[in-house]
Point group: C2
Chain length 262, copies 2
């Protein structure tokens, strides 16, 4: 305990798998090459030179398929691998003492999961697939080995961890000082941007997560999320049909995000 942490000061890590948790299938070592991966500019190799990417390839890490609703790893599991999303969407979540779930993040193609496990050697959160998905499973010990020889690789990892810290800063700001409309607007705009960066439409997309999961992430109840969606629709900012969202007024939505407390 030497960090500025606010984690449960006394309570032991309690650990209750979600009802739909099942173990996922490991896939026989299917060699994965970062150099030829279409996600290389979004994922770990982002910003690396050809040589450094080659170092990454030398890891020869495998892939793993995860079906919708299955978990990739669970809070408390021993940590040994960093996972990079190849396809599909994941949520990460922590379990509160009373069994309720707190969603910590949503991850899509090219994003890294599991960095929070390095500190203690155990995963600090669970990762669950929201749809059929596939990940690269990068053994952390190997990565460390190769990184000893490749400064660029090491820096890439460090940079990504720093980015995760910044991401959480932003979420804290959101949870600490925004109202329901601002939160949902921020969430949707962020989603829109990330989808756009992946070549999808920025204005029309399919939500992979439930209202309850969005609510948990944003610190709201699912009814409030639902009502806020309806409110946005009435304000003609977007059209919602269950999980299908179409942003019809991007500027308006941005203003809703910026309009904090009046």
């Amino acid at each position: 305990m030497n960090t500025a942490t606010l984690e449960a000061p006394v309570r032991p890590v309690q650990f209750t798998p979600t009802p739909r948790a099942r173990t996922s299938t490991a896939v026989p070592p299917l060699k994965t090459q970062c150099t030829s991966c279409h996600l290389r500019d979004l994922c770990l190799p982002c910003g690396m030179t050809g040589d450094e990417m080659g170092d990454l390839d030398s890891l020869n890490f495998g892939r793993r398929k995860v079906e919708a609703g299955q978990n990739l790893y669970l809070e408390g599991d021993g940590f040994s691998t960093i996972h990079a999303v190849r396809s599909g969407t994941f949520k990460t979540s922590l379990m509160l003492a009373d069994g309720r779930e707190q969603v910590a993040g949503f991850y899509m193609a090219g994003e890294l999961m599991g960095l929070d496990g390095i500190a203690s050697g155990r995963h600090a959160s669970s990762a669950i697939a929201l749809e059929d998905a596939e990940v690269c499973a990068i053994p952390y010990a190997h990565l460390t080995q190769v990184a000893i020889r490749s400064a660029g690789l090491q820096q890439a990892v460090t940079r990504l961890m720093s980015r995760e810290i910044v991401r959480e800063h932003s979420l804290m700001m959101l949870l600490g000082s925004m109202n329901a409309e601002e939160r949902l607007a921020a969430f949707l705009l962020n989603l829109s941007q990330r989808l756009k960066a992946r070549g999808y439409s920025a204005s029309e997309f399919h939500l992979r997560m439930s209202r309850a999961e969005i609510g948990s992430y944003l610190g709201l109840k699912l009814e409030t999320v639902s009502r806020t969606f309806s409110a946005f629709q009435q304000q003609r900012l977007l059209e919602v049909d269950k999980k299908h969202v179409r942003i019809t007024d991007l500027d308006g939505l941005t203003r809703a995000f910026e309009m904090r407390v009046h």
Copy 2:
């Protein structure tokens, strides 16, 4: 923009120095030795071997004094150094678009600040001294150089970054799903533990931050923080006189922390 970030999707980083911000004094290179530092078990060298600590010493990094109210660095400043607190207390904070401040964390002796700057090369938050303080200023570029040769040092840095991620997870949980009493109880218990780890009393201490700063950190208004302090005092969990706090019922306070929403 390839991370699962929720940072301001469109709005540029706006930057307003706090009224009490002044620039702090740099101190001529005063050689600092981790091997002989009394904070070595709490700080960066934690868990390192003697040799690895020696690598750290070879950096010959300097110290810097920061007076109460001065800033160590500001959001948006170019990032070049990691700072380790030697003495005193800091807060880190982000500025919202409307000029309001969101406190992201409090840091005391042995804790590292600035890790969020690695991602973009600019500080993602400001660090401000809450009392006269001193820090070790560790040039990140040098650290990276040395880390290329010292795997242990590299791992120590990585582990600390991971710990920062976990810390923020915990804070998110707190902001996302706790009521005012739980938040303040968690805050006080965490403070208590960290002070204890530094050889101070776990039950009686002086708050270095204002009610407003606590409130910002916990996602509450200052009046609510004040009222909650009073409530705890009425419940005989603690005695408060302005910034002086004495925990009189640690178990009770722990229960207050665990008693989430009934």
